[in-house]
Symmetry: C2
Subunit: 488 residues, 2 copies
């Protein structure tokens, strides 16, 4: 297998197949087969998202995959933004369809004709729904599993509100959910208000969460869009106000794709394989019975009894009783990123202890069996903190202040420069740096506790407040910094 530090790209392509997440050999490029292990991790991420949706009163729906061209064409920016990269169904059986159907690239144009029927009175608002489905892009660039694919596992929440401010509150709620999710994934990120030319097609504004990958390029892992009434007008989503009269609704969307799994793989993994955050690891611990010829008696039974106790305590625990060497099993589970390995041999059993080994740093602890539940909890907690700390260090240590676009071009990671806010200057900065202007970094006041661990949010380098500088293009004095980086 390639080394992560030497050739990230090759390492990434190797690990996702060796860890049995997906199979890339499907006969359409950019459409991968989800293997059981990979799908299980993705479903665990879905479940964390569902948990957040339930907590905030969103309801799960499922809309059809196909969208009539006539509906798709109602919002001009959507066509401009997606028209060139959608798949078209033009035939049913031997017949040409009267109206070609778009294979959804995202679901605004599928959902909003129904929103128009569902929203009647102010009592119907806010309307908060979500779905977890596949969306499709006719990707012409080089594809890469999870990061740039043609069939995308996708979560999308769509809401409608009485006014601009209520939609704004929704964006804030979504940002809290992103923070809570990323905390469970041990995944720090920076939030950016995207420049106007890079916002979602049809959006009033877009706030994106960007993670830092090992090549020090950023990856967009979540988006939050305020639509104002930009879609409500073409799709006629109006409600009767309490004071009479019909008013257009304001809308938001919130999206997270399988890219976030790509970030988990890329950020946490090492040359031995994956490192899965405990919240989404199919097995949080694997017990490997250590067998010597003639001395096995009771060891596998002991492992099963231990597993049962740990499961009763709420952990996902697997016993690997395969007829393979311990070394083979160690390597296998390290590759699959199991957070904690538990070794149990005949002598351990005699002494009523087991050995817990953390996947991230290889640290071994001998633990009395009687304390196994508590000890596993501790190990998982320390492991998760370890993942988050390392990833946070990588992010915060790679945001640097520079004065000019030329310096930003040479800087690795995220470069912070001044920007006067003019589109021409922003595009000029992009051209000179040959990088992407991620946008203005924003910091949001999150409830204490929920994301206390997300130290990245506390890093001054990731916040916009108190900045004083000059625009890297026109030289005008400005208090607005922007982040510039290479992106996926």
């Amino acid at each position: 297998m390639a080394k992560k530090q030497e050739n990230f790209s090759e390492w990434y392509n190797d690990i996702i197949e060796k860890a049995d997440l997906i199979d890339k050999r499907y006969p359409i490029k950019g459409m991968d087969v989800w293997r059981p292990y990979g799908l299980s991790v993705m479903h665990a991420i879905d479940d964390l998202i569902r948990e957040g949706m339930r907590r905030t009163g969103h309801q799960e729906v499922e809309f059809p995959l196909l969208i009539p061209q006539s509906e798709f064409n109602k919002e001009a920016d959507q066509i401009k933004g997606f028209g060139g990269e959608v798949y078209w169904v033009t035939k049913g059986g031997e017949n040409d369809l009267d109206i070609p159907l778009v294979v959804r690239p995202t679901s605004e144009t599928a959902m909003y004709p129904m929103f128009s029927l569902w929203v009647r009175s102010h009592k119907d608002l806010p309307l908060k729904i979500f779905q977890i489905v596949s969306v499709f892009r006719y990707e012409t660039k080089q594809t890469r599993s999870f990061l740039r694919v043609r069939q995308i596992h996708f979560f999308e929440a769509h809401t409608a509100h009485a006014d601009y401010e209520d939609a704004e509150r929704q964006i804030h709620e979504d940002l809290e959910l992103t923070a809570a999710l990323c905390e469970r994934l041990c995944l720090p990120y920076a939030l950016h208000k995207r420049p106007d030319w890079d916002k979602f097609p049809g959006a009033h504004y877009t706030v994106a969460a960007d993670a830092m990958l090992p090549e020090l390029k950023t990856l967009q892992i979540g988006t939050h869009h305020h639509y104002k009434d930009n879609f409500a007008k073409p799709y006629d989503i109006k409600y009767e106000a309490p004071t009479g009269g019909h008013v257009y609704a304001h809308q938001t969307t919130y999206g997270i794709s399988e890219r976030i799994l790509g970030a988990v793989v890329a950020v946490h993994g090492d040359d031995k394989g994956l490192m899965l955050p405990p919240a989404v690891a199919p097995h949080q611990a694997v017990i490997v019975p250590i067998l010597f010829k003639g001395k096995e008696a009771g060891v596998v039974d002991g492992a099963n009894a231990l597993a049962q106790r740990l499961r009763a305590a709420g952990w996902r625990v697997h016993v690997d009783a395969r007829d393979e060497t311990a070394g083979f099993k160690f390597n296998d589970w390290e590759m699959r990123g199991v957070p904690v390995r538990i070794e149990l041999g005949p002598r351990d059993l005699e002494k009523q202890v087991c050995v817990m080994v953390r996947r991230d740093n290889g640290e071994k602890r001998t633990v009395p069996l009687a304390e196994a539940e508590r000890a596993l909890g501790e190990s998982l907690d320390q492991y998760a903190r370890g993942l988050l700390q390392r990833a946070t260090d990588t992010l915060t240590q790679n945001v640097r202040d520079v004065k000019t676009a030329a310096e930003a071009k040479g800087a690795t990671g995220i470069a912070r420069v001044g920007w006067c806010g003019a589109e021409a200057c922003g595009l000029d900065i992009q051209a000179v740096t040959e990088k992407t202007l991620l946008g203005v970094p924003i910091d949001v006041a999150f409830p204490t506790g929920a994301v206390a661990a997300l130290a990245a949010h506390g890093s001054p380098a990731l916040q916009g407040k108190g900045y004083h500088g000059v625009c890297a293009s026109c030289g005008k004095a400005t208090t607005t910094p922007v982040h510039v980086a290479k992106t996926y």
Copy 2:
């Protein structure tokens, strides 16, 4: 709302929208929007299926939606069977695709190129996987929600085995899973080995489960296919046998679609609305606090306390504290098919009792609050038995022995006639009766207990053994009966 007995079709179309299962107003006919309540029931059915899959060592995967025409065309019967009713993606953005892509109507032709890579040695067998996805048919007949749609919520298990017999054992395992699932859904059915002309395209044989709907037409709710090596040959799925040499694998599939939800709606519902089986009801009980002006004190609190206790006992319980009349709430939850309603008023609270009302027969029981957990369990159990018994009666009372095709034509429900087994005679019986030959009824020995409640399996009318008659077409003596019915 239309009456079920007077106009089943209209009743069915009304109830699925009034009970908030789906919204039919999506701008493509035959593609419905899953509303939160309906999706929740469908997901509960999915979860029962997943439970069965886990128990039998199947692993969940997800294959891409699109299939290159070149792969789709490898198995001749599939093209013949599905070619006329698939959607084709022919364009990406502005470009015509080099190879048109089929939107999967089912996933054999997507999966088996990968099976060819995954199956190498006899140690890789049996290979047992499944997925729960949407499949698509370009349906030209009249569509009807759940029963005949263009986007179909679909479970499909695919397996590969060392030989014919092992694949046969798999079919048996699948039949047990169907029995266990249908027991949870209170849904009796008859099993039929489909005649050759009606088996799945490419299959060696097909065994289908057929439910009886109120119009006394049957609905196929599950299929079990033995493929022999019919797909292994074109897709080159071979393994190295222990004795050396390469051998083609034998395969099976097992499928259940959203039609099974259609059967649940149609079989159990009445003029007041749905009746959901407890296993898949989003709320197994709803507590309605009975409020009188000025006497509310403590009633809502009491309802919440009761709900908490019932939830702790493992039941899904909802408290309806909306600002609506009790009558409105009763009607609403009856429409949504909640199995048990619990009424709690101020006098009940004084006496420390509540009233449990069964959705199926309206039976009321006054129950001491201290015994609520046990009492709810009893009510749900009796309710489920009630649903199953009524449905079983409908099925078994509507299978009748007749001697001639002309009699079979006039008979309602399922008619049993003799058949010599010749295709010409079978097609003749179909032509004369203007009905479908469902196939030879089969009975399978299920483990005791698993399906003891499925009394339908014990009904002689649903079994083939011991039959003596003559072919309804040619008059030859035969010991093989076939079932003939109108179908959806």
